[in-house]
Symmetry: C2
């Protein structure tokens, strides 16, 4: 029940409406910006009501803009009724109707660097933000918005929105207040520096500035975010994590990393989780994260005292970790800073702090290009997300993945990626359970040998070496055979295995 | 003749040696860092002497590190005698022996983002800088180095070099003094902001800090930089420039660009030159450049009063423009700032200032990927240079090129690039003499239609549309046919034409 701890001005109570009334504000062709990032901090009630209205005959196809993929109340409910015309800037394969719509070409999806999208909305490149739907913990007496666990692009959407719907979610603990640090850079030519010098620095306000008059309506919500528990790391992930920790220790020993470890960024998913848990067992102390999304392992490492500061644009505790949070909210509140997406992923800050970036590709090739997004070059799996922001700008950048997929039938190392998300200029180190290929300063042929011999699975090394030998028949800086570079992927497509 | 206007401390005269004596400091296996950027401000005498010594029997293969490609006294002389083992971070096809060595795999070349290389040398990723050879205008009483017209990575090389050779070139006008702004960012975790807020801001010193004791020897030089006059713009370049100016005016009208034009970056070569000359005829006034290399057209626009401030890491006036400079050096000195390469190309500054970036690709594809470097995916033409730095971080980014090459036998638009230097996430606008494709916010199939219909040459549109139609038979987010995506390039390879 909404009370004055959640709505801190009596005028706000007059704005409470039903989800159906809120959904009625959304009409055909609109650009709709939603708060949240991954299944965290996104609105739920209004979009469920909109999907219901469409099922009952309302004609409405809209463009959904967000921080990243959000939860099924948007991705699934709206996609299933054909309500989504366009989608930016990220999508994840876990939402089946969205996946189907995008890959059948029915939903116009534009995959973007997450640090770019918010600023380009701010520049007006994509047109108006007709409606913003923002999930909130509470609204202040001045009408400013205290967000939930996911910030994403909410501040930019609120800045520009013609209409604002706020879902105040009573299931979010009120003690999240103070975790957010909301800062919107000025538009050039008036932009100045982003004054973050350490991962934990605060530079903005604990709320999104809005004002009571700009709020069109308020919807009460109590639906929990749909975060699932991560699976426990498997043998390959544990070995990858060991290889990674060993590599970082070696870099420190060689004087190429400072004694106090630089801030870490870690991607999403089970490999990333295993890597962080691997760091928990390392000799590194007082770690800092300057990352995008903070998953369960970050909370566990804060509790263990391994992580001192963690900056992200959202956190996604699974139900069990929410319980852990509730036992000692002050510990997490003083350790965690939640920022807008274009600040968490800002090239300026990532390069200044010297972030060590760790992400997982779908496949990478012998010359060091990485594919993070497209299966067989054409089917969108997951968007590029923030990986480009961190891998281009990090101090030291590491792509890690098991050397094979689908029970050993797919090699993660191929002669040429079918889609280049990270070019040969943007990658430094590849790690699989087989080993480490550090390609910094290596010319293409040396890179190829390092990647094949250190990272590829032994089952696939002969055909990769054979391709390289064949391509090298023509002398070239980067020996490529355009007639055979996709043979492994074509073989998989025809036979179901690259072997 | 070196006098006390060039060597401002008597001790410096004791360090004068012959080029042969200087070259003797360079031994097999060394990493040698040289000043300069394109044929501007690079050392000449020592490397000529080294090449001669090698011809006479000295055994010496070295790694050459620079800002970009430099002049023939290094690229040609040393490559021709097999003296170059490795080369970073840039190379240009104009130097034949270097091109041959790289593309026969005899010279280990590593192509890099120019904003990355200097900082990675600073981080120690590539090992020691054994020798730095720096071309200078003069040396101060304290032993600090006043550089010539090309800065490149000279400051980082001097910072780390175990031995320092300075070539003081008496052909460089002394009145270049004061143009340089030398600033080296601290290494993380101690790095702060790069405090540049306008293209013309000065944040460093007018010289490279060195000290008399660290200078091993001084060589007198009077060899001029090898800058050629640019050819006059042809009809296609003039039409491209018109399309570009019209596009920028439209963006301003739509409110997506501020009234005062944002700082411009322009790549190297005849298209870039034509574009700048096109801007000279536009209604834009008080232009600023935040660019890499400043070519003839910048000087002409400064003289016309069209450009108020120009920042770069080098300038390359042709002989006739040097004469223009000498008529009014104060005008150019107050308008031009010369910075280290990792500052001229710094993502932080490019994004903050909101640079409008304009570069020329070799080919680009229907989904918006661009190839700046490799012919047929394997032969290195020119390095990526700074194009990745500017195109990833610019406010608005434009790739422009004629729609065909080699008398119409090659289409600049292809189904898939053979080498992706700029991914689909990094490109916004393509311009040819045919028209403009603005792909911001467009999903892949819409992008393909815009690029084919607006940018491709009519001779090639049918086969590009046919490929798209064929690929679309399989529903997909990004319809690609791996068996046919390189057909146009393969046809050229086999028949000498894509038609």
């Amino acid at each position: 029940m909404l009370d004055n701890t959640r709505l801190r001005n009596p005028q706000l109570f007059d704005k409470i409406v039903t989800p159906e009334e809120a959904a009625a504000l959304i009409t055909d062709g609109m650009n709709v910006g939603v708060s949240g990032f991954t299944p965290s901090g996104y609105p739920k009630k209004t979009t469920i009501a909109l999907a219901k209205a469409i099922k009952e005959g309302k004609r409405c196809r809209i463009n959904i803009w967000s921080g990243a993929s959000v939860g099924p109340e948007i991705e699934e409910e709206l996609a299933a009724v054909g309500a989504i015309k366009g989608r930016m800037p990220y999508y994840a394969a876990s939402n089946k109707s969205m996946k189907k719509g995008i890959n059948e070409g029915k939903i116009e999806y534009v995959d973007q660097h997450l640090s770019h999208f918010g600023q380009q909305v701010d520049y007006g490149f994509f047109g108006d933000v007709d409606v913003a739907i923002i999930e909130a913990t509470a609204i202040t007496a001045e009408g400013n918005i205290i967000l939930g666990p996911g910030v994403g692009n909410a501040p930019i959407f609120v800045k520009h929105a013609k209409k604002i719907i706020i879902e105040v979610n009573t299931s979010i603990p009120l003690n999240l207040e103070g975790m957010h640090d909301i800062y919107i850079p000025a538009i050039p030519p008036n932009r100045t520096e982003i004054p973050i010098y350490h991962a934990g620095d605060r530079i903005g306000k604990p709320y999104v500035e809005c004002g009571i008059d700009r709020i069109d309506c308020i919807v009460e919500s109590d639906i929990l975010d749909h975060v699932r528990d991560l699976t426990a790391p498997d043998a390959a992930s544990i070995k990858i994590a060991e290889n990674l920790v060993e590599f970082l220790e070696y870099e420190q020993k060689m004087g190429r990393l400072p004694e106090k470890m630089l801030p870490l960024q870690s991607g999403v998913g089970s490999i990333a989780n295993a890597v962080l848990l691997g760091l928990a067992k390392s000799r590194f102390e007082n770690l800092e994260m300057y990352s995008e999304i903070l998953q369960d392992s970050v909370f566990r490492l804060i509790k263990l005292g391994k992580i001192a500061k963690a900056s992200g644009c959202a956190f996604t505790p699974s139900p069990s970790v929410w319980e852990m949070y509730k036992e000692d909210p002050d510990l997490y509140r003083k350790s965690i800073v939640l920022r807008p997406l274009d600040i968490s992923n800002h090239p300026e800050v990532i390069r200044r702090l010297g972030v060590i970036a760790m992400n997982t590709p779908l496949e990478f090739d012998i010359y060091g290009q990485a594919n993070s997004t497209h299966v067989m070059g054409c089917t969108m799996m997951n968007g590029i997300g923030g990986s480009g922001d961190y891998m281009r700008n990090g101090f030291l950048t590491i792509f890690s993945t098991p050397s094979t997929a689908k029970c050993g039938s797919i090699s993660s190392v191929v002669p040429m990626v079918t889609h280049a998300d990270h070019t040969e200029h943007d990658t430094m180190v590849f790690i699989t359970e087989q080993g480490v290929a550090d390609i910094r300063g290596l010319s293409p042929v040396k890179r190829a040998k390092a990647i094949i011999n250190n990272c590829a699975h032994p089952d696939f090394r002969p055909q990769l070496l054979e391709y390289l030998r064949f391509a090298q028949q023509k002398n070239a800086h980067m020996p490529i055979d355009l007639a055979h570079c996709f043979d492994m992927q074509k073989k998989f497509y025809e036979t179901g295995t690259m072997l």
